[in-house]
């Protein structure tokens, strides 16, 4: 049976990337799906060109292409991230971290209580937190960009 070459597999990865699928696991899943579809077409028509077989297979995803899939995956990932953030948040209210939480609240209320103009503390405090947050997001984005440019993949995978 006629099989897809390595170059054609790479072309399918590029195809999914060009259709805004940025996660490597979803790209891989779609590449395998498209490859299976194309190879099945070749069983009936071995001379059918790769490009035309790909167009035919992609049409099966409907008029919106991969967009529903991307939407659902984004939703699923956001749900997963929220769950993790919630787990980390809860940790601050359990031993041993609750000691740090309570101590921080006590310290802050003590400092605020000593000052007449509380804005001297609150404004720089909020500003520092904001800057830290922006810096973190910026460096993370830079790291993801670097990883993609280095190996063309966004995400890690463990294979069995």
């Amino acid at each position: 049976m006629k099989k897809l070459s390595d170059i054609q597999i790479d072309h399918l990865y590029e195809f999914t990337k060009n259709h805004y699928v940025e996660w490597y696991d979803v790209q891989t899943e779609l590449v395998d799906h498209l490859a299976n579809g194309i190879e099945n077409q070749w069983k009936i028509e071995p001379d059918f060109s790769f490009e035309n077989a790909l167009i035919k297979e992609f049409k099966k995803f409907g008029v919106f292409g991969f967009s529903d899939l991307i939407k659902e995956k984004t939703k699923a990932l956001n749900k997963c991230y929220r769950k993790h953030v919630w787990i980390y948040f809860k940790e601050f209210f359990r031993l041993p971290k609750i000691i740090i939480t309570l101590f921080s609240v006590w310290m802050l209320s003590l400092i605020l209580g000593m000052l007449q103009n509380k804005l001297y503390v609150t404004v720089p405090f909020v500003f520092i937190i904001f800057v830290m947050h922006v810096t973190y997001v910026y460096t993370q984005k830079k790291q993801i960009k670097y990883r993609i440019s280095k190996n063309g993949k966004n995400g890690l995978w463990i294979m069995s």
Binding site: I9, V26, T28, L30, D32, H33, F66, D68, E72, W157
Partner: protein, 112 residues
């Protein structure tokens, strides 16, 4: 999918039932299996299948296994313990639905 509106609500049940019968399956295999069982009557659209699979995975009903096959990587889905329980519930739900629909569409003739 053929007769989209009628089948739409049963997509999750179809996936869970198939995975319950097979140890593990990949996306393309699911579409082909459905076609084979229904003799081409029902065709799962890829645009509906994968979002449903990803949703079930996020809900913890499906587990994923990745295996290298030839020159590409294949993502297999299998039921988790919660997924197996959910399959039973979904099938009962579907049976009840079929029973009620049959009663509505084809009510028994009564002489009262």
């Amino acid at each position: 999918m053929k007769n989209t509106n009628l089948y739409k609500g049963s997509l999750i049940t179809i996936i869970l039932k198939l995975l319950n019968e097979h140890d593990k399956m990949y996306g393309y295999e699911i579409t082909q299996k459905v076609k084979e069982i229904t003799k081409n009557e029902l065709q799962l659209t890829e645009g509906a299948l994968y979002p449903a699979l990803h949703k079930l995975e996020a809900q913890g009903l499906l587990d994923v296994e990745v295996i290298k096959v030839g020159n590409r990587v294949r993502k297999y889905y299998k039921l988790t313990e919660a997924g197996t329980k959910e399959t039973v519930d979904k099938l009962v739900e579907l049976e009840n639905y079929i029973k009620n629909m049959r009663a509505l569409v084809n009510p028994k003739f009564r002489l009262e």
